[in-house]
């Protein structure tokens, strides 16, 4: 005898799914309070700066910032500015949209380990953000993108709104 014995359930096709269709558009809107950490971070982006916080007890720099050290459980000791430049830690090429539809063209996205003058980071913990990387998907497939130096391509000042999208993408910065 193989368990489970006679598992039940009634498989259906999409077209047969008689029930209630319930539109949700407009029904779950939020006005997130950014708080001090992300509020300052977003304002920094608007000025073309990437800001982080620092815990002087353990020496960690937090980008994206928070007001507490996740490791020492104490308030952070202030703000530091990261360079808008760093190296790619990992990256992928997306051929689909958030909706699962096929994308018109591949979009490369990855995690960038940022540089902060006066601080050194290993592979274990580092200030890093996820963003688009403006390179060809071949750079991903060949794995050449790992360790690539990239720099933020900022939107023009007048288009910036205080969002992560104030950076258009990161682009190769040369060696």
């Amino acid at each position: 005898m193989t368990k489970p014995v006679n598992p039940r359930g009634t498989p259906i096709k999409e077209a047969e799914a008689v029930g209630i269709e319930f539109p949700v558009v407009g029904k779950a809107r939020y006005n997130y309070t950014t708080g001090e950490a992300l509020g300052v971070f977003l304002a920094g982006l608007k000025q073309g700066r990437i800001l982080g916080t620092v815990c002087k007890r353990c020496g960690r720099v937090f980008v994206p910032p928070r007001m507490y050290c996740s490791y020492c459980f104490r308030p952070v000791d202030g703000w530091v500015e990261a360079r808008d430049e760093g190296v790619v830690v990992t990256a992928v090429a997306s051929y689909i949209e958030a909706t699962r539809a096929r994308a018109e063209k591949a979009r490369v996205v990855g995690v960038i380990k940022l540089e902060v003058p006066g601080y050194k980071f290993d592979d274990h913990f580092f200030p890093g953000i996820m963003h688009y990387i403006c390179v060809d998907d071949e750079a991903v497939k060949s794995m050449g993108i790992f360790g690539m130096r990239v720099r933020a391509r900022w939107r023009p000042v007048e288009q910036r709104v205080g969002s992560i999208t104030d950076i258009e993408c990161f682009e190769p910065a040369g060696p």
Binding site: K27, A28, Y30, Y32, R66, Y68
Partner: protein
């Protein structure tokens, strides 16, 4: 088996809109206070597990527990979420410590309703999609109003009784620095409050606040280390009546009665009306306070209202409650938790 104690408590917020802190920063503030209250405990070293009480749609984040660990010192430690009210989390912490595996467990809960632009739509998403949601109720408080009428009709409770509850809660809140909506109401004020869903007026419905609360629980041995004044948890109960609104008792909160019985059995309380010194009952709606006083066995069924009018001093002493304002709805009308200390 070990006893379980509460050894620390912290909070932040408790105002209609906390504009200068994110929910995570509120959690951090509350946690810092709680750990200080628990004798300066270090969550990175001294805490075995953390529970965060939250629901995705309240947060506007799917799998919202992702954001739980860092602000309370729980990163890379044992953390999980209970989708329910915070007393249920206390119940989980109690069971965890009783099991013998955990010595110190932290319970965190927060609400930031001011972040929700479409609160009514979000609350309506909790209704059964087949039998209830298609009705498109203009005000979800109507469901509580159905309970209110059923209770009032069955036990002869009138608006004068609800007015008394409202007045008492607002007055009690004046002595609580965290009660945003406290105030002194005169006898006639209640009637000036607009009818929202008859039989409930605006004054009968608790208003929302943003807040975070952190509680530290510990085993007997750990509690003696951490605190000179631990408060022992003698019993905890939580019960669901049914998921199906149509099948639940509209006139009486059976779930609260059953949860209380569980807690009293553990606490060896035979006559709660005599043995319970004071109670904080859920009064998110005025009539709920009366219902819950009865469900908890602090007054015979159907008699809380008359007791309130006849012996205000006794009743106020037996059941002083925070301002209705200090409550924010979490959980469903068919669920209840009781935790006498």
């Amino acid at each position: 088996m070990t006893k379980v104690a509460i050894v620390g408590l912290g909070w932040s917020g408790f105002s209609p809109e906390v504009v200068d802190m994110s929910f995570r920063e509120m959690m951090f503030k509350a946690a810092q206070r709680a750990y200080e209250d628990a004798g300066g405990l270090d969550p990175r070293r001294d805490v075995d597990a953390f529970i965060s009480c939250q629901e995705d749609f309240w947060e506007g984040i799917s799998i919202a527990d992702e954001f739980a660990p860092d602000p309370i010192g729980g990163a890379m430690k044992s953390v999980y979420t209970v989708a329910g009210d915070s007393l249920q989390c206390v119940g989980q912490a109690y069971a965890m410590i009783k099991s013998g595996l955990f010595d110190v467990v932290v319970v965190e809960s927060h609400g930031k309703p001011s972040d929700m632009l479409t609160l009514h739509d979000v609350m309506s998403m909790a209704l059964d999609p087949i039998s209830l949601r298609p009705l498109g109720l203009a005000n979800i408080h109507a469901l509580a109003a159905l309970e209110a009428r059923a209770y009032m009709a069955k036990y002869g409770v009138g608006p004068q009784h609800l007015a008394e509850v409202v007045e008492k809660a607002h007055r009690a809140g004046l002595r609580n620095p965290r009660a945003s909506y406290a105030g002194r109401l005169n006898a006639g004020d209640y009637e000036l409050s607009p009818v929202v869903v008859d039989p409930l007026r605006e004054a009968d419905i608790a208003k929302f606040v943003d807040a975070a609360v952190v509680v530290v629980l510990a085993s007997e041995a750990a509690a003696r280390d951490l605190s000179d004044t631990p408060v022992w948890v003698e019993g905890v109960g939580w019960r669901t009546e049914t998921s199906t609104l149509e099948l639940h008792d509209w006139a009486f909160p059976l779930h609260a009665r059953m949860a209380a019985e569980d807690a009293y059995r553990q606490a060896k309380i035979a006559d709660p009306a005599k043995e319970v010194g004071f109670a904080e009952v859920d009064n998110r709606y005025s009539f709920k306070e009366l219902q819950h006083i009865e469900a908890l066995g602090l007054a015979p069924r159907g008699s809380a209202a008359e007791m309130l009018l006849e012996e205000p001093s006794t009743q106020a002493a037996a059941c002083p409650s925070t301002s209705a304002a200090a409550r924010w709805p979490r959980g469903s009308p068919s669920k209840s938790t009781a935790s006498p200390d």
